[in-house]
Symmetry: C2
Subunit: 514 residues, 2 copies
C-alpha cells in the first residue's frame, strides 16, 4: 500500500474543494508515475479512513478521476488506474515530451512539451508572431496606426458629441429595465439580425419626420454603428478592381474599407461646395464606376456641405453612369445656420442611394447604434452579410433607444445640443481668430462638431501635437488626413465635446506651444 | 402690396414655431411664383404690423429665409427675393421638373421630379429593387433564410442560456453607472478599438484562471460577439480559393463566412470523438490547407467533445501541414460530467491557434461581448480589420462586464447555472426517453446547452415544426443543418433556456404532433 496520507495532502481552509485537491494530487502522482497504470486503488471507505475525510469525499474524488478518464471502475472490484493513460488532466491535456503512444512521430521537442504544470512555460503562451501565414489588412500606402490616445487632461477629438449633455441616464434606465425584464421571455434571437422590430418601426417615423425620407421597415437595417453600415454596403457593392469615387481629402476609415476590398479609388477634389461634380463626371467618363461614397453634410475632414445644385447633378450623373451612391450623412442632425438639406435619399433617387446614419453622433460615441436605409432587396443581402459579421446587435439597447425616439427625448436632446454646439463653434472661432489668427486658417462650418483647422507650414501639426501632449493636451498629429501626395498639415478641431473653459485652456496650451 | 395677412396664415397653438410657419408659407409662395424673384419684401416692422406679431418674429423669418438662400439682404434697403432661386427649401431640395438653370441637360422627367411637397410621392420612397447592380452574399448551395421566429408561447432554441438566471440586474447597474458618469470625462475613443483596457486586463486573469491560457493584453481583442471574431479571423486567414477544413455536419453560420470569402471547403466527418483527425490528415495530403475551423467542446450541431488524443494529433498535423487552427470554444464554460478539457490554445500550440470565446453564452444572448486570443501580430491586424467593420464596441458595457468578472459575479453565476443546466439536460433526456424514445435518437452530451436530436424518417422535422407552431411551440425546421448531400432530419434541442415545466409542455406538444 502506498503512503496515501503523505501522497495526498490537502488543506481544508484552501479555496478549491477538498475532493478536487485530492483528485489533483492523485493525477500528479499518476502522471509522474508514482501511481502506476493498472494500480488498484483502495476502496472508498478505506481511503476515507486513511485521509480522515468523509467517504462521500472519496466518492467524489473517484467520480472526478473516472469522468476524466484517469481511473476505471470495474464492477464489484473497485477502481484501477487506466492502463492506457489519457493525455488529459483536470482541465488540462498534453504531456511532457511524450506523444500519445500511437507511434505518431511529430517533431522532437515540439508541441506537447508543456502542460498544466507548465503554465508559466512561455511555450504555452501566445507571443508575438503567428506561425502560419495570414493576410494583413490592406491599408493603402499609409499604414495608419489604430490611434491610442494617451491619458491626457484635455482631448481635442475630431468631432465627437459631448456625452455629458446626452440623455444617457434616461437611456440607461430604459436599457436596464429591458435587460432585467425576467418576465417578458422574448428571447433575443435570429429574427433580430436586421435590428429589433421596435427600433426599425421607430426609424420609419424618425426618418420621415427628420429627413423627409419615405422608408418602410424592410428598407431599414440597424447596425452596430455607421461604420458597420459603410462596411456592409461596400462589401455588397464592390469587388476587387471595381472603381469607387471618394472625396479628396476624405474620410480615411471609409477609404480603407474600399482599399481593403481591393477597389480602385478615384479621388475627386472636394472644394467649398462639396465634392466637385464636374470632376466626377469627367473622371467617370469611359469607365465603369460602381459606387460613389458621399458625405453630404460637413464632409470629413473638411466640414463643407454639398450644395443643392451639386446634389441634383450627382443624382443625374449616377443615372447616366449607372452607379450607386452611398450617402453617409453622419452629421445630418447638427446644422446651425439653417435647416440641413434633405438627404439625396429623400429625393427622387430612383433606388440608387444607400443612406447611412448613426446615433453615436446624436447621443454619445458610446452608443453604438447606426442604420442603413436602402431598397429592400439590398437590405435583405445586407442582413445576410450582417449575420456573418455579428449575429445581431444589442437588441435591448435598440429597444431602449426606440423608446427615447418615440417619447421625444431624442428630438429634445438634439434641439438642446444644437444650440449649445453652435455656441461652442462660435466660441472656438473667436479663440482661433484672436489667438491663432496668423497660424490657423479655417472656414466656419455651417454645422457639425469640428472645424477643419489648417496650420501654416511654420507650425507643423505633428510637432505641435507632441509638444501639446507634454502639457496634458491630446490632439491628432494630422497624419490620418494626409494621402500619398498631399500633406494637409491640418486637424479636425472638435468643438462639441469641450465646454468653453476647456476650449480656452486647450487653445492657451496650443498658443504656448508655438 | 401683396395681401400678406392672407398669404401668411399661422396658428399660435400649432407645434412649429410661428416664425417657421410664416417662413414656410413664404417659401411656398416664392416657389409657386406668387412672390416673384427680385420682389422687395416689406420691412420687418411693417410686416409685423400686418401679421400682428412681434417684430422679432419677422426678423427670425427673414433670418431663416436668408440663411436658406430664398431672400437676400441689401444694406439700407431691406430684403428682396433672390433673383436666382435656390433649388432648396426648408429641409428640402430639388424642384418639380426643373433644372437649376445652369444649362445642364439631364434627362426629361428624371430625378428632381419630386420634392418636399411630394413627400408622399412613391418615387421618393425606397422600394424593392436596387437600380444599380450589387453582389449578393455567397451563401453556398443553400440560400438559408435569416430565420424569423414567429411569436410563440414556447421556443425550442438551438442552445441559448436562460437570461432569467443571469446577473443582468447587476450588469445593468454597472452599465448604467458608467453610462451616466458625467464626471469621469474619459472619452470613448479610437484607443478602444481592441476593447476597453479594463476588459482586456480582466481577460488576462480570466483566461488563466478558467482556461489555463497564458495571454497578455496585446494578445486579446474584444469583439461584438464570437461571430465577429470568426469573421475577422477568417478574413485574415483566407483568400478566394484557399482551403479551409470544417466539420460535417458543422456550424453553418461559420461555414457561410468561409464560403462568402470564396474559400474552398474541405468537409471532414465528425464522429463521437469530434472531428475525424485521420480524415483531416488524409484529406490535407498533397494540398495547401490554410486553416481548420474547430469547435472543441460540444461541436455545433452534434454536441460532441473533441477527445484529448485527437487534440494532440490535430496540433501535430497543423505543424506538419503549416495551417492555423481557429478554435471556437463557445461552450467551454458549460461542461457537466467533469472539468472541460483545456483549449488547444492553452497547450504548446506554437502560435498556430486563434482562440475564440464569448460571454453571450455565459450570461445572455443579449450581451454581445466576445473575444479573440492570438499572437500579437495577428491581433494587431485583427484590430485594424475590426476598425473597418465597427470603429469600436460598447466600451461601457465591456467595463461593466470587466467589473463582474473581477468581483467574481461571473464565476459564481457559471457555477450556479452549470448545476441548473445539468439538471435540465438530465430532465430533457428523461422526457425524450419516456415520450419520444421510438422517434428521437440522441447521445447525452457531456456539456453545453443543447441535445442533437435526430428524428427518424417517419417524423420529418420540417412537418413537425409546422404542426408545433400551430400549437404555440416554435422549433427549428432543421433545414439549417442540412448540407447539399445530407438531410439530417435533426434539430438542436436547447434545454438551457427552458425550465422543467416549460420542457414538459414542449415535449407534450411534440408528442401530440406525431
Amino acid at each position: 500500500m502506498l503512503p496515501f496520507d503523505k501522497l495526498l495532502p490537502f488543506d481544508r481552509t484552501a479555496a478549491p474543494a477538498v475532493y478536487l485537491q485530492v483528485a489533483n494530487s492523485m493525477i500528479q502522482h499518476i502522471r509522474s508515475g508514482v501511481i502506476k497504470p493498472g494500480f488498484w486503488l483502495p476502496g472508498t471507505r478505506e481511503l476515507a479512513g486513511i485521509l480522515g475525510v468523509h467517504r462521500k469525499t472519496v466518492v467524489a474524488v473517484y467520480d472526478e478521476l473516472s469522468a476524466q478518464g484517469w481511473i476505471e471502475a470495474v464492477a464489484r472490484k473497485g477502481f484501477h488506474v487506466t492502463r492506457e493513460l489519457p493525455e488529459v488532466r483536470p482541465g488540462g491535456w498534453g504531456k511532457d515530451g511524450q506523444r500519445s503512444g500511437k507511434g505518431r512521430p511529430g517533431r522532437e521537442g515540439q508541441p506537447g512539451k508543456g502542460d498544466w504544470s507548465g503554465r508559466q512555460d512561455r511555450e504555452h503562451a501566445f507571443s508575438k508572431e503567428m506561425a502560419a501565414p495570414f493576410y494583413p489588412v490592406e491599408r493603402g500606402r499609409f499604414r495608419l496606426p489604430v490611434v491610442s490616445v494617451p491619458p491626457s487632461r484635455l482631448i481635442i477629438d475630431d468631432g465627437h458629441p459631448d456625452s455629458r449633455l446626452a440623455p444617457l441616464e434616461l437611456l440607461g434606465r430604459e436599457y436596464r429595465a429591458r435587460l432585467s425584464n425576467r418576465g417578458g421571455r422574448r428571447p433575443v434571437y435570429a429574427t433580430m439580425t436586421a435590428g429589433s422590430p421596435r427600433m426599425r418601426e421607430a426609424m420609419v417615423g424618425y426618418l420621415a419626420d427628420t429627413r423627409g425620407m419615405q422608408a418602410s421597415v424592410p428598407n431599414i437595417l440597424i447596425t452596430h454603428g455607421a461604420q458597420m453600415s459603410i462596411y456592409i454596403a461596400a462589401q455588397l457593392l464592390l469587388r476587387p478592381g471595381d472603381t469607387v469615387i471618394v472625396g479628396e481629402p476624405g474620410y480615411y476609415v471609409a477609404t480603407q474599407v474600399f482599399e481593403n476590398l481591393g477597389a480602385s479609388l478615384l479621388r475627386v477634389p472636394v472644394d467649398e461646395q462639396g465634392i466637385d461634380v464636374d470632376a466626377v463626371e469627367r473622371l467617370s467618363r469611359g469607365r465603369v464606376v460602381r459606387m460613389l461614397y458621399l458625405i453630404p453634410h460637413h464632409h470629413h475632414p473638411t466640414t463643407v456641405t454639398l450644395s443643392p445644385e451639386r446634389r441634383m447633378r450627382l443624382l443625374e450623373i449616377a443615372e447616366e453612369k449607372n452607379f450607386s451612391i452611398v450617402e453617409d450623412d453622419y452629421d445630418y442632425d447638427f446644422h446651425y445656420s439653417s435647416s440641413p438639406y434633405l438627404p439625396l435619399a429623400a429625393s427622387g433617387h430612383n433606388n440608387r442611394v444607400v443612406y447611412i446614419g448613426s446615433f453615436s453622433k446624436s447621443l454619445s460615441s458610446s452608443i453604438r447604434v447606426g442604420f442603413m436605409v436602402g431598397p429592400e432587396a439590398f437590405i435583405v443581402e445586407a442582413t445576410y452579410l450582417r449575420r456573418l459579421i455579428e449575429l445581431r446587435g444589442d437588441n435591448h439597447m435598440e429597444d431602449a433607444l426606440a423608446e427615447l425616439i418615440r417619447n421625444g427625448d431624442v428630438g429634445r436632446h438634439l434641439k438642446k445640443v444644437n444650440r449649445i454646439y453652435q455656441g461652442r463653434r462660435d466660441h472656438l472661432c473667436g479663440l482661433l481668430d484672436s489667438n491663432l489668427g496668423d497660424v490657423v486658417d479655417y472656414r466656419k462650418p455651417s454645422g457639425g462638431m469640428a472645424i477643419w483647422a489648417r496650420f501654416n507650414k511654420r507650425a507643423p501639426v505633428k510637432e505641435l501635437a507632441g509638444k501639446a501632449l507634454k502639457m496634458g493636451l491630446y490632439m491628432s498629429d494630422g497624419q490620418a488626413y494626409n494621402t500619398h501626395n498631399k500633406d494637409y498639415n491640418a486637424i479636425r478641431f472638435g468643438f462639441a465635446s469641450l465646454n468653453e473653459v476647456e476650449m480656452d485652456e486647450a487653445v492657451q496650451i496650443l498658443t504656448s506651444c508655438l
